[in-house]
Subunit: 227 residues, 2 copies
Amino acid sequence: MNKSEQKAAVVLLSGGLDSATVLAMATNQGFHCHALSVNYGQRHRSELIAAENVAKSQSAALKTIDLDLRTFGGSALTDDIDVPEEEGEGIPVTYVPARNTIMLSLALAWAEVLGANDIFIGVNAVDYSGYPDCRPEFIDAYEEMANLATKAGVVGNRLAIHTPLIDLTKAEIIQEGTVLGVDYSMTVSCYQADEAGRACGVCDSCRIRAAGFESAGLEDPTRYKSA
Amino acid sequence: MNKSEQKAAVVLLSGGLDSATVLAMATNQGFHCHALSVNYGQRHRSELIAAENVAKSQSAALKTIDLDLRTFGGSALTDDIDVPEEEGEGIPVTYVPARNTIMLSLALAWAEVLGANDIFIGVNAVDYSGYPDCRPEFIDAYEEMANLATKAGVVGNRLAIHTPLIDLTKAEIIQEGTVLGVDYSMTVSCYQADEAGRACGVCDSCRIRAAGFESAGLEDPTRYKSA
């Protein structure tokens, strides 16, 4: 099918394992994917380079928008708070206030300009680490709001927020992506990766990722700092 | 009352007539106001200067965040589309895709960092010019979503989106603001104001503003380019 005949979708792409898988799933479902990456001042800037590589390898156009969330602070990912090496109780300090709400709103703006009715985001309720904006009830409420916020709702189209990973374990995500040909060596999950995209191996995100590959019975292509 | 004893609120401030009035109303309701202005690449940059002057005159702290919505285009306010001089049918070309959704999401992030449960926005359903994201049903859905998106919802606080102008006519807004001492000569409503903040007098926004002052029976302090 020609790209111009395909339905357009906006896919939020962080350069991490999850969103790389989502992009492959959306493409596999027949969407012409427009990948959106947000440079929000995250410590792990190597994610943005990873996003470029992932988009290129999956033949998706990528747009990166700058939005410096360090303006507000309040997270270990954007502020001067240490990234913890052990999981604590409640909402972790790596939570970025309203991040998914903001990301989806940017995707919504682009979708509206493109005339796209489909937005994909790699949120996951299984390994969600206690982030409130990764829960299914949040996504449902967002979709409801989005349909009232935009022209889509006015002209009678229905805008959909797709979360194909929401009920998958990390192992299932990795297995699915591997089938679709995702090259996970390109992706960066670590909260404190170095400029070359090499992972620390000790943060929450690293430990969840490593456990996922192990549980999936697949070789972990992650490049570690100490390796 | 000492500012530290007051409840904090985030107030979206554009530098226009409406949001200047909202800031005065929120302050009058006893909130310690944190004003948020978004530099989204609008043509009328004099709005940002107006926002600074309005915040200063009302003794509110102001934070300005850069988010270049020209990345997406699709509006006469951010793209190469002419601002019309006559009202058309349906959603006008001055509509910025998902603008209020994005603005509220940024306010939500800041509110969460501040521990504030109150956000004020100057949307108006009477003179809303056909923008889908100025409707009460949009605001209700946004508030619902916001309570699921953030820590507030998790710890049992209730986050409120305040829209004190939603049912007021432009004349009523101006009358209310005048009682509260808002200096409207500082505000810029025009879609194509010049660097000095002088208005064109012919765009939708100028015509609605001028009619508002006339209907309120108050002198219009707007500075026009040709005056």
